[in-house]
């Protein structure tokens, strides 16, 4: 399907010159081994993430985006290739990479909203004890849930739970933030607000973000760099520079053209004519 001409054309910008890659994924194949079969989720995937990148993994459902994120998170070991963080091989999970999972049950039901946000501070002792509460409260306010700080997760809506998970990750001020479709469950309005909040926060702290989505629009708005993946088993179709497009450009001619280009890569070229 992918024509070689398009692929070379797609890689538009050279990686940050002179800078050292923070995360390098090199020829990584990830597999799931079940009783009946071995499922290859991603096949020889390579990319480099530089400090402060807003790095997007974009692709159709089931192409292995979550799997790739779990590999970076240290939960899965590649059968081929390797994943390096700061030049050391990733072998185990750790609190240096905060993950916001795709699943709804990532909150701990036995902790309140505030307790959930404070939980990683408690297990890692990253901040002094007397700051925990303030930091957690600030993060909870940021996602607009101050009124629910003492509620238990089962009393929240799906979108609210997701926002708590985001607050929990942000409160840790991580060097790398991994987010797996964090805004998928939110209504259009809240989603838009959270996207703005995330970008604002990124501007404040300048963390490195790896963000999974299957919304092209969201990818362009959030990302500085977009990896487009092929359907199962996931391979990298293209790595695109998206630094030129932000929220304000949405709807502009450039933005739409870029959108169409990615659309073509994902759905095959026969549909470009209609878009």
């Amino acid at each position: 399907m992918p024509s070689p001409a398009l692929t070379t054309d797609a890689v538009t910008a050279a990686p940050g010159a002179g800078k050292q890659a923070l995360l390098s994924v090199d020829g990584v194949t990830l597999q799931y081994q079940t009783k009946q079969q071995i499922v290859t989720a991603t096949y020889r995937v390579s990319f480099d993430v530089y400090p402060q990148d807003r790095f997007i993994l974009l692709g159709p459902s089931g192409c292995g985006k979550s799997t790739l994120l779990k590999g970076v998170g240290g939960f899965l070991t590649p059968v081929e290739g390797q994943i390096q963080l700061n030049n050391t091989k990733v072998t185990a999970p750790g609190a240096d990479r905060m993950i916001v999972f795709q699943e709804f049950d990532q909150l701990l039901p036995w902790q309140t909203v505030l307790g959930n946000v404070m939980f990683p501070m408690r297990t890692t002792s990253r901040f002094p004890r007397n700051e925990w509460k303030d930091r957690a409260m600030r993060a909870v306010e940021k996602v607009g849930l101050a009124k629910f700080a003492n509620s238990y997760p089962h009393t929240l809506s799906g979108g609210m739970k997701q926002r708590v998970a985001i607050a929990r990750a942000l409160a840790m001020e991580p060097k790398i933030l991994l987010m797996d479709e964090p805004f998928a469950a939110l209504d259009a309005l809240t989603r838009r607000r959270m996207q703005d909040e995330l970008l604002e926060l990124w501007n404040d702290i300048r963390f490195t973000l790896i963000f999974v989505t299957h919304s092209i629009q969201e990818a362009i708005i959030i990302g500085s760099r977009i990896v487009v993946m092929t359907p199962h088993p996931g391979q990298i179709r293209a790595e695109l520079d998206a630094t030129a497009y932000t929220q304000e450009h949405a709807g502009s001619e450039d933005f739409m053209a870029f959108n169409r280009k990615i659309n073509g890569m994902l759905f095959g070229s026969e549909n470009i004519a209609h878009g």
Binding site: K70, G73, F75, A92, P93, G94, A95, R97, M98, I99, F101, E103, D105, Q106, L108, P109, W110, F119, P120, T123, T124, Y152, P153, H154, T155, I216, Q217, N259, N263, F267, N271, H274, G275
Partner: protein, 301 residues
């Protein structure tokens, strides 16, 4: 974007439904609606109060007992509730029943505590190492079906006629039930919650205490409840078999003695006490643990 692309194709594929006019409605301000939440009312609130409903069931059963016993009129075979209560009050007053209860409860709590501790060690081993899993699986498969009474003769041989034998059989009857439930609970903790824990640097024992135990708490609690019931049964049965342990006798012995003396009302009073203690533990201790944990966390209805 996707809509735009698929629309032309879709239209061609199927016949659209006939159009119906759109409707635009005006909505009221929430202040104008007035009553949004309403008090459910005194009686209904009483009725939804579980202890009250349970108490009514007990009253009903008590009445049925009293009426049946009076109609039957055979206090030797089936004493009435009032006879039983009188016997109960007398023995409480003269201290025989209280000392029996005290003796039994002490042994029970000791045996139960030891069993729960052992279960904690076994299941932690089982969840952290593969050989531990095999050990637990094999041990529970071997010993869980074995009734405690069947190993009582062995216990007597090893530990003699005393508290140790009783504790040994109680531990046996509680340990496997609690371990099995706890381990099943650990296994069913969601993969995501485990990953959350490991993401925050938890592993080994800390993962067990911070994530697995609270996440598996409904199963653990169920195991503890079953274990408690097993402990009671085993203790009463064991006491019935060999009775006196050292200086003081327990509830089982109290029941056994009164049966020998054909004091049926006192036998009933003994059974009655077992039931009361069971109800109190279930209705007060376990219920408040549940209310403070799994219910509050929304893990159990």
């Amino acid at each position: 974007m996707a809509d735009v692309i698929h629309a032309p194709r879709g239209r061609a594929l199927f016949k659209e439904l006939p159009a119906r006019p759109s409707i635009d409605r005006t909505t009221l301000d929430s202040a104008a609606i007035g009553e949004i939440a309403r008090d459910v009312g005194f009686w209904r609130r009483c009725w939804s109060y579980t202890p009250l409903r349970r108490f009514l069931v007990l009253v009903f059963l008590g009445c049925a007992w009293e009426i049946y016993a009076r109609l039957a009129g055979n206090p030797l075979m089936f004493p009435s509730l009032s006879d039983t209560l009188v016997a109960w009050a007398t023995d409480i007053a003269n201290g025989t029943l209280t000392s029996a209860v005290w003796t039994s409860l002490r042994i029970l709590v000791l045996g139960y505590g030891v069993a729960v501790l052992l279960a904690a060690v076994l299941t932690t081993l089982a969840i952290s190492t593969r050989i531990g899993t095999d050990l637990l699986a094999t041990l529970t498969a071997m010993f869980n079906p074995l009734p405690a009474i069947a190993i009582l003769p062995l216990a007597l041989l090893w530990f003699g006629l005393g508290v140790q034998s009783l504790i040994f059989v109680i531990v046996h009857s509680v340990l496997w039930a609690v371990s099995l439930n706890t381990f099943t609970g650990f296994l069913s903790v969601s993969q995501t919650q485990r990953m959350v824990g490991r993401n925050y640097g938890l592993g080994g024992l800390r993962l067990v205490t911070h994530i697995l135990i609270p996440a598996a708490f409904p199963s653990i609690l169920a195991g503890l409840k079953i274990g408690w019931a097993f402990a009671w049964r085993t203790l009463i049965a064991a006491e019935l078999v060999f009775g006196v342990s050292g200086d003081s006798a327990g509830l089982g012995w109290y029941i056994f003695q009164n049966r020998n003396a054909l004091e049926t009302a006192h036998v009933f009073a003994g059974l009655f006490t077992v039931i009361i203690i069971g109800l109190v533990i279930e209705g007060v201790v376990f219920r408040s643990i549940e209310a403070a944990t799994v219910r509050r966390w929304g893990m159990q209805a």
